[in-house]
């Protein structure tokens, strides 16, 4: 199964986002590079709004991800609750 991935600028906004992804996607791994962090997982990854809100203690709009997003790979599906990345093959 091919990897999907998402990369963020490494900062205080994205630390809880990465933490939430790693908690919700047991197969996901984070890779630190200068000034950025890339999270990858085989085939599929879900970013849940509620998991991020639990960590930051405030409301979070998933579209806030755009501010610190660097790149991603996979088909994107987004609604209020979650953003998923996936490859079909």
């Amino acid at each position: 199964m091919s990897n999907v991935f998402i990369a963020f600028q490494a900062n205080e906004d994205t630390r809880p986002i990465v933490e939430a992804i790693l908690a919700d996607n047991p197969e996901a791994q984070a890779e630190d590079q200068p000034a950025m962090v890339r999270v990858f997982a085989p085939g599929h990854m879900t970013i849940n709004r509620s998991s991020i809100e639990d960590l930051i203690g405030r409301d979070f709009d998933l579209q806030e991800l755009h501010i610190n997003l660097i790149t991603l790979s996979g088909h994107v599906e987004e609604d209020e609750e979650r953003l998923t990345l996936s490859w079909d093959a």
Partner: protein, 506 residues
Amino acid sequence: MDMQVKQPKLGIKERYSLLTRDLGWEPSYQAKEKIFPYTHYEGIKIHDWDKWEDPFRLTMDAYWKYQAEKERKFYAIIDAHAQNNGHLNITDGRYLTAIKLFLQAISPGEYAAHKGFARIGREFEGVGTQVACQMQSLDEIRHAQTQIHAMSNYNKFYNGFHSFADARDRIWYTSVPRSFFDDAMSGGPFEFITAIGFAFEYVLTNLLFVPFMSGAAYNGDMATVTFGFSAQSDEARHMTLGLECIKFMLEQDPDNLPIVQKWLDKWFWRGMRMLTLVGAMMDYMLPKRVMSWKEAWQVYGVENGGALFNDLARYGVRVPKGWDVANEAAEHVSHQLMLGLYQWCFGTSFHAWIPSEEDMAWLSEKYPDTFDRYYRPRWDHIRKMAEAGTPYQNLGLAQLCNTCQLPAVFTEPGDPTTHCHREVEFEGETYHFCSDGCRDIFLEEPQKYVQSWLPMPQLFAEPNFGDVGKWMEWVGLKPGVDNGDYHGSQDEASFEAWKKHQSATA
């Protein structure tokens, strides 16, 4: 007293629908083909434009809100960079060559992409597509502006930054990205979005912005990493637009597949060739390196591109022609191009240099099968020439490929000791190419590529008529100041003196 009833917030899907689709209408007093005259001649068949949807469902109101926040973050750092001697915090003055090349070759490409997306945003019929293209057009002009603004601080202190706009139009190596974008913009709207939105943004842009910008951070260049990551935060959206457009074309009609595949073949090859400039930047111009060009190609080309083409196989799409050749070439191209840039650096708007022992040890480690065998001996020879007081300059002019416009410095597939050169006779003229890939692109549309603006023939035409001194003036270069070897340059002397002063007074 009236009670304010709080309206429930609209869901993201509902809001997207209201703020994009509902902005469209059926024309009543003009035929649709007259309003959108360019969406048929390329042969792409679209039956239902409403099937195209932005998976991020970003609406214009949210777009402005998040872009404003990105700009605030960007300018906070750019101000701090200018106020705190950011130009001295880079690891080494050599690093600036990469940034000069970026400003001359890549930022004008952002501006070209802005024009292209503004145009296709008008030409496409679907409202979802129009809105997404409009956002991308605004993003691209933001990128051009923030890049120029961020790098303008270096222009106060170092040479070679001052005339990037003339360099873009007149210098030789900048015609590589310029011809890439001119080629895309002179195609139809579907070819443009396949070229820029998909082949470039999805398959290749990671190679430009991700490891290179991470490298800028590693080399203390706050300004570049800031514009790079600020731009890249838009790229995720661009990549998604590109992928959606490909899927949209393939799902709308099976007749679209061969047309799309032909464009993928062409634009993958053109993009890969153009990014050879970035390969040289990553392997040779970053004093502290994050990853080699080969490693970046492995992660973002082979693995990520491979995942994408595996996935698209369900539509009948195969990996682009030249895929295997490109993978093998990742072992060689950065070295071959840097050797070229060094020998012609009397005519560039940046400095080149002979890699140090330390640089070469890193290159040997990263390229264990090729560097010591093919490239170290050449650099050693060039070093001996420099030490003997006869530095290697190739005062002949580079032979440029008629398609990609890079100097034809590459080797045959499977044989890195034989120079690769292809020729085509067309209507009584001979055209030269660096590879089968570039020759095949010419052969598909020869009438288009015979019109290519090539910098070497330009040198012999008016206003310079072959006079290299006049040409230098025409492109805005001071020989030996803006170019030549970094060692002994004014940039080197200034950087060393300022660093010494900084540590003495710290």
